[in-house]
Subunit: 389 residues, 2 copies
């Protein structure tokens, strides 16, 4: 069971609202999806996720494949049952992690591989970051792993080339991604035939930082008729302007009646800019990670709780925020918790930052529905960026 | 506002139930009090503490005095407001931490001090574990700090001598503790006169591992007419048998109409044995600390979630437990979280272990009220200790 229905389109913008329906519930788009790498959104319980109105969360195939292994998760009844999370879930394909790991270890733009990652047209050899053991991940295997993990939405296995790659390398990575997308689709169709699982597969557009490649990739992936389409290989160091340019070069070639998911993007500014360019789904580890370093969002920009000025500040992180943290705790106490590396502090900061993005998205959806998205965008960014400068 | 009323006495036992009333609410005794060292019960929010029915929690004066300092907490409205915890609280005097820190650094049984702790009759010089800076803590100062922190119950400043001290050293530490108890009482009375604070002071019995000293100390401390009396200097390595002997040598000399608090004790076995000997209040860091190492209580003894047999175990930590963790998560998932050092795992284990002790105490109270404590004790310990052996 999977459907996508558009509710509203914003005039003079590509922004739109919609509803995705899955077996595990509805997702209102545009949506920000918290990342639960190892089958847990760091610091939060299922109840916490319901309380902050997270309608869908992610888990990472790469991490779960290495430990505890998809077999265990399958045996335990799949991700939803194991994590006790009853709402929709999405898994990535592991591609991004495999390649970003490779980059760290010497994966270079001209595709000479110094160490752990070796690619051929059938798949990728990589070494586990846990024990150094070599694994071979293929589009067939990445699809089967995700099938076993059992999320509502799974992703095709793609090659995510580094931002500084040569055009010819971007092109060959894209072509491999296309070939793999076809394999993932066929593999998934076969797996579904033998089961009662309700699960859909999204394709991923690549093409690096080149408009013509992005167009070519969008047309190809769109032609494979996935349940939804994603834009991969951005937000990896190419710069905001280039990212916007690539989104603009991609979206027009994707079916408007399917959700469009921009992978790995999710600062407040990004949400506005990319919703405006037609994006329906976002994910990003940033808000969970920054929480653990004491950083937090406010409508007046990003701040850090370690700042000395918050030492005896009795006010909440953001006076307009309705999250558990802001309703119950002062900056002074949160600052103490973060300074003392107290676990409660990490959780309270995470609750606030995810709430901020989820509530911002609800506000964005309301503004689109009432035709006022562009005004909201202008006002928000002015206030938010003034504070940053 | 402070009162203590006895509800029931168990026949053939010193076990009794009672109610302590404070400005911040009622405490049903016998009670287990979770420890919130740095003004946070590690991993738990105020809501979590309400959900597990924690009726009172502790905070540590030593830690809060060093950082962030009692001045800040006072400025923020006191511990309750700062932590946003509306139920009763107790602070220790810092004595135990000062001396246990000293022990680590060479505090010896014949009272020759190799490094950081130097005692005289006026107070204690010690070095901060944070920055090595020397501090001088006196009974006056320990009382003033606790007054400023603002808990409902505060403790007299005592000298807690190591378990292996000579009798003559235990005696002089006890005598110093008595002198300091008088000072604490006078200091607190003066502070209260100038304020509207609702706060009571408990005395602490010392006397090491000697029955005659314990009797002498109990009589002296009891004579000072504190709101409640505590037994200190136990559970520091003297052994269970000796601990029970010392409790038995102390309790008869304490006013039965006041609560009796055994400091730093709190395994399930201890709760039964010491309630049986007349103890009303307990605290212990053990259940919060063990949670972070994957250990957990069950009615069949203590176990560790890292055990390989739990890898694909779909059952809760304890099938009879009603806590959030047991109602929602399997051993398999908890094991994964603990192996991955995921913060959610630490919190879920803490919720279970504290719930276990708090629920056990409720069961103990019910059994005393219905005259069946000794049967419950026998049955529980048989099941619990069988599993351990």
């Amino acid at each position: 069971m999977f459907s996508f229905k558009i509710i509203s389109n914003q005039k003079n913008s590509k922004a739109r609202t919609g509803i995705i329906k899955t077996k595990h519930g509805e997702i209102h788009t545009p949506i920000f999806m918290p990342v639960g790498t190892k089958a847990t959104v760091k610091t939060l319980s299922a109840q916490d996720l319901y309380d902050i109105n997270a309608e869908i969360i992610l888990a990472n195939t790469y991490h779960l494949y290495l430990r505890p292994g998809e077999d265990l998760v399958k045996k335990m009844g799949g991700l939803h049952k194991w994590m006790n999370f009853s709402r929709p879930m999405l898994t990535d394909s592991g591609g991004y992690q495999v390649f970003s790991l490779g980059q760290d270890k010497g994966y270079t733009k001209d595709a000479t591989f110094k160490t752990s990652v070796k690619i051929n047209d059938n798949g990728v050899y990589f070494k586990s970051h846990l024990d150094g053991k070599t694994h071979f991940l293929t589009p067939e295997k990445a699809t089967k792993i995700q099938f076993d993990l059992g999320a509502d939405i799974i992703m095709a296995f793609d090659e995510c080339a580094p931002a500084e790659s040569s055009k010819s390398y971007f092109k060959s990575a894209m072509e491999r991604t296309h070939k793999w997308a076809e394999i993932c689709k066929k593999t998934h169709e076969k797996l579904l035939k033998k089961s009662k699982q309700s699960q859909v597969l999204f394709g991923i557009v690549q093409g690096g930082t080149h408009k013509d490649l992005r167009k070519q990739s969008a047309e190809f992936i769109n032609g494979l008729d996935f349940a939804g389409n994603a834009i991969g290989g951005l937000a990896i160091g190419e710069g905001k302007e280039k990212m916007h340019e690539m989104i603009e070069a991609t979206v027009p070639y994707l079916n408007k009646n399917k959700p469009i998911y921009l992978m790995g993007v999710g600062t407040p500014e990004d949400l506005f800019e990319c919703v405006d360019r037609g994006i329906d789904m976002f994910d990003c580890v940033h808000p969970t990670r920054m929480s653990r370093h004491g950083a937090f969002f406010t409508e007046h920009g990003r701040k850090n709780i370690k700042n000395n000025s918050f030492k005896s500040d009795k006010t909440p992180l953001d006076k307009n925020c309705s999250c558990y943290t802001c309703k119950n705790y002062s900056k002074s106490y949160l600052r103490h918790l973060i300074f003392e590396s107290e676990i409660l502090g990490l959780r309270l900061m995470t609750i606030h930052n995810l709430s901020f993005l989820i509530n911002l998205m609800a506000e964005i959806r309301n503004s689109i529905n009432s035709g006022k998205f562009l005004t909201l965008k202008k006002n928000f960014l002015r206030k938010y960026q003034q504070a940053l400068s």
